[in-house]
Structures are given as C-alpha cells and as structure tokens.
C-alpha cells in the first residue's frame, strides 16, 4: 500500500523531468535555428525583408546576384584564397607533421605547444599592424598571395598538430617494407603515408577552408581594391556601404556564399567524423 504511491510519485517525477529536459532541448534548438531561418527563407522570397516569413517562392534574387559585378567575382576570390591556403597548408603541414611524427626531434612537444599557443594568440588582432607593414614592405600588400601566405602561417601550427596526431596512429610496418625495397623518405611519404592519412588530410583541408572562407579581418586589412576582395568582405560592404541595403542581393549572396562550405563540412564530417586525438587532451 505504501509502496505504490511512492513508486507512482517517482514515475511522475521522472515524467516531469523528461518533459522539462525535452523542453530545454527544444529551446536550445530554437535559439540556434532562429537566425538561420532567415538564410533558408528570404533568398527565395519575391520581396525579401528582415523578418523571417514563409517565402513567396521565386528565384528572381539569384538573377539579381548574377548581374552584380562584385558578387560572383568575390566568390571566385574566396575560392582562390581557400584553395591556395589548402595547397600550401596541406603540403607543408604533412611534410612537417611526418618528420615530427617519425623522428625524435629534441624539444618536439614544447615546440608544438608553443606554436599552437602562439597561433591562437597572434592570428587574431594582435599582429595586424606588423602584418600590414610586412606586406607593404615586401610589396605583397593588395595581392592574393600575401593573404594566402599570412593565412597559411596562422593556420599551419594547428594543421601540423592535428596531422601529427593522425600520422602517429598510422602503423609503421608499411614504411618499413617500403624502405626495404629501397624507397626514399620523400617517396615513402608520397606513396605510402599520404594515401593512408587521407582522412586526416581531408579533415585538415576542410578545417582550413572553413577558417579561410569566413576570415574577414586579414583580407579586409591587406586587400584594398574591391575587385580583389573575397566574399566575406564584399558581404560586409553590401550591408554597410549602400544607404538602403539591397536585401534581394544580400539574401541570395549569403546563401550562395554559405552553401559550399556547409556542404563540404557536413560531407567530410559524415565520412570521416570529427575526432579529437590524444594530443589535445593536454
């Protein structure tokens, strides 16, 4: 007799907790979804406004985008910056990570941590004045090469850190046999290690792309002519410099600018997973 009400109370309490929990998760989901809702509705609306509303379906906004001289070129510029940085970072990063993973270089861990720390400290804003000057002095100001090199320098420490962890987990027996057949270190890296490390390289490439694709400050400072600006900066000028913001243009541009990187991210995430490796546990 006394057990039943207690058990009933316990299940009732469990039920209330579950409801509250689901409610909290819905609120969290809503918080993240609310700003994003604009991005998926307004590009398709005949008269886009700041308010999220069920769209009056049309693709008219995308033809406005196609006619704008800066919009498409800026996406091209973003691609140049992104692919350039990926090329530099993946090549130099895998060389360095492989050496660090296979050879006991004195002070290796200290070096890695110091670089990682420095990169998260310096890439932000603290170094913008010297970087600006360095680019002026070397004549790289207002060039895509300058931005690619500066971005690569900032991203490389993290890339090396992640890749080294990946390469540490690759069994060494393949390399041993390749070496038995007389392969040189460069060949071993290219023909044996790189194919096995492909998930790591893919993850690093996408991670670097996401960093570069959205990077606003470096191109904003280092590139002066609007023809050379990537989409991240053009997007900003679209909503600040014109008196009345052209929402048809902005909405379509936001979507076109966001979709590639979102797709790539989720594709790679699904295929290879987002993993944290031993090294980051401190």
């Amino acid at each position: 007799m006394t057990v039943a009400p207690a058990a009933g109370r316990r299940t009732a309490r469990k039920f209330v907790v579950r409801v509250l929990f689901v409610l909290a998760m819905v609120v969290v989901g809503f918080f993240f979804a609310l700003p994003l809702a604009w991005l998926v509705t307004q590009p398709f609306d005949a008269t886009p406004t700041m308010t999220v509303s069920w769209p009056d379906w049309t693709l008219e906004n995308f033809s406005v985008l196609a006619e704008n001289p800066y919009a498409l070129r800026s996406i091209g510029n973003s691609l140049v910056l992104g692919l350039g940085t990926i090329a530099v970072v993946v090549t130099l990063g895998s060389l360095a990570a492989y050496a660090l993973s296979r050879v006991r270089v004195p002070g290796r861990d200290g070096l890695l941590y110091a670089l990682l720390l420095l990169s998260s400290v310096v890439t932000g804003t603290a170094a913008m004045v010297p970087l600006f000057q360095l680019m002026v002095a070397t004549g790289l100001i207002n060039t895509q090469t300058g931005v690619v090199l500066a971005l690569s320098g900032g991203v490389l420490p993290t890339v090396i850190f992640i890749l080294k962890d990946f390469m540490d987990s690759i069994p060494k027996s393949y390399e041993e046999s390749a070496r038995l057949y007389g392969a040189r270190p460069g060949q071993i890296l290219r023909h044996v290690v790189v194919p096995i490390a492909r998930p790591g390289l893919a993850f690093v490439a996408v991670w670097a792309l996401v960093q570069v694709w959205g990077n606003f400050l470096l191109p904003y400072i280092l590139l002066r002519s609007p023809e050379a600006q990537p989409a991240a900066v053009i997007m900003y000028t679209f909503y600040t410099e014109s008196g009345q913001a052209d929402l048809s243009l902005i909405s379509a541009f936001s979507l076109v600018f966001s979709v590639p990187v979102i797709l790539m991210y989720f594709l790679v995430n699904r295929r290879y997973g987002f993993r944290f490796h031993g090294g980051i546990k401190s």
């Binding site: 993240f32 700003p35 990169s119 932000g124 000057q133 900032g154 606003f216 966001s258």
Partner: protein, 309 residues
C-alpha cells in the same frame, strides 16, 4: 601485425618501443621536411609578434611625416595607453565579454548540449547537432548579418516575436547582443569536444554509480567531471584565447554605440587603421599578447597541478 613484426625483427625487451624513424629520415632529413613550414610560421606568425615589440616603441603612423620617418619614442605609447580611460574601459568590456560569452556561455551551453544529446532519439540528436554546427560553419559575415536581421529595429524577427516594435537591441543592449551572438557562433566547438570527451567516460563507472542510486547531479560531479577534467581545461583555454582575440563583434556593432561594445581587438583596429596610429596600435597589441600569455600560462599551471594531485 604482431606476427609480422615478430618474424622480421630480432627479439628484444617487451617494454622497449620500436624505432621511431622508420622512413630513415634522420635528424637532417627531418629538418629539411620541417623547414618550409617553420619558415612560413616564422615569417608570418613569430616575426609579427616580435616586431610588435619594436613598433610599440615608435610613433609610426599610417600617413603623414611619421609614416616616412618614424621616431623612437621609448615607452611613451605605453604610458599614453595606460593613462587612457578608453583602454581601461575596453579591457573591462573584453573581460566581461570573455567571461560571459566564452567561459560561461559557450562552455556551459556546449557541455549541456553534449550531455543532453546522449538522451535524445537519433533523429532529434542529429537535428540539434546540425543546427549548432551550422551556426559555427556559416561564414562569420553571413552569421553577423543573420543577427542584424534578427535584431533589426524596424522589422527584425525578434521584435515581431516579442511584440516589442522599435526596440533597437544593438543600440540599447550592445554588450548583451555581442555576448549572445558569440555564444551562438562558438558553442559548436565545445559541444563537439565534450561529446567526444563524454564518449570516453567508462560506461561501467556510470553504471555502478547508477546502481548505487546516485542522482544525475551526483553522477556528473563524481564520475563525469573527474574523467573529463583535462578536456574542460583544454576547452576553456582555447575558448578563452579565441574569444579574447575575436574581431567578429565588429561586424555587428562596430564597437558602438560610442564605444560601449568596443572590445580590445576592435579598439586596436580603430586606433591603428582608421585612426592611423600604428605605433600606439602595436603597443596595445603587445599588452594584449602579454595578457593572452598570462592567461595561457595560468591555465597550464592549473593543468599541471591537477595532474600532479
């Protein structure tokens, strides 16, 4: 694999690790492999950091006489900056921003979401996960515009929902706006990190805690937290540094109105580039680097003490 190694290698003590240098690189080869990356890092990461020290002691300007021939002014920039009320206000705003949006907001929300996800059905889990991740992956200038639209004074969605027409959120509550915006942008990282950390907590420990009648709160405190302490520290360190150095709030409020959301990165930018005072900007940058370094060393010491205990 163990068979193969046993047959090709001479027997040896079982605790001894296999030779690391399987590719026959040698120290010299390793140096050659590392040189290009280190050169790039040295030129674009370490050199600017060191150059900041020199620059901060000159009156270098973007334009005019001092641009052609900068003079050495010693510590003048530093005394000027430290005597400037604007700097101290900016530093205070930055600390509030880092504490609320980084340490409290992103870490707590990220952990709660990671913890909550484990109790959701797979479809609900992937919906929530996708939303949080999408906010992170969307390019920052798009994310910033999404918030400008949400908070717009005339027909922003928030004013529609709350039925508060004409409320200019970015002008009336600039700090709260950028704090919440930054939580929205950055929570995904903590969520991912804590998801993988929680996955590594031994289920048997949680099971026995549950058998012993521990409440959720007790399980969290006595089983989960001790297991993921290292992750919490790494996460908080990275989040603190990233939040401290982020420039993104500039896209939302540009530091305004009248400097009420002018966190340090924005303050440096406004001093150095539009303001033209590169020397003073570099001096503030160096102060910021030092603060960052102190924070990082503090966390690392904390980590070392924890491990020793």
């Amino acid at each position: 694999m163990s068979l193969a190694t046993a047959s090709t290698q001479p027997p040896r003590g079982r605790r001894r690790p296999r030779p690391a240098d399987v590719a026959g690189l040698g120290r010299a080869g390793a140096g050659v492999f590392m040189a290009p990356a280190l050169a790039l890092i040295g030129l674009f990461l370490i050199f600017p950091a060191l150059w900041t020290i020199y620059l901060g002691m000159t009156d270098y300007r973007l334009t005019g006489l001092a641009a052609a021939d900068p003079q050495f002014v010693g510590l003048d920039n530093y005394t000027a900056v430290l005597g400037d009320a604007g700097f101290w206000r900016s530093l205070r705003l930055t600390l509030v921003f880092v504490l609320l949006s980084g340490v409290v907001g992103q870490t707590l929300l990220g952990f709660s979401v990671a913890w909550g996800l484990r109790r959701l059905r797979p479809w609900a889990k992937s919906v929530v996960e996708t939303l949080v991740l999408a906010a992170w992956v969307v390019p920052t200038s798009v994310g910033a515009f999404l918030w400008l639209a949400l908070l717009d004074r005339r027909d922003g969605t928030l004013n529609r929902i709350l039925d508060t027409p004409g409320t200019a959120w970015l002008i009336e509550y600039p700090m709260a706006s950028i704090v919440i915006f930054n939580i929205w942008v950055g929570t995904a990282f903590s969520m991912l990190l804590f998801s993988s950390a929680l996955g590594a907590v031994p289920p048997s420990q949680l099971e026995s805690a549950r058998m012993a009648g521990a409440s959720t709160w007790q399980q969290l405190r006595d089983v989960v937290l001790p297991n993921i302490r290292g992750h919490i520290l790494t996460n908080t360190l990275l989040i603190t540094l990233w939040t401290f150095n982020t420039f993104t709030p500039y896209l939302l409020t540009a530091g305004g109105p009248s400097g009420r959301s002018e966190i340090l990165p924005v303050y440096i930018y406004r001093t150095a580039i539009p303001g033209g005072q590169l020397g003073v900007g570099a001096a503030i940058s160096l102060l910021m680097l030092l603060i960052n370094l102190v924070i990082a060393l503090g966390y690392m010491r904390l980590g070392r003490e924890r491990r020793r205990r």
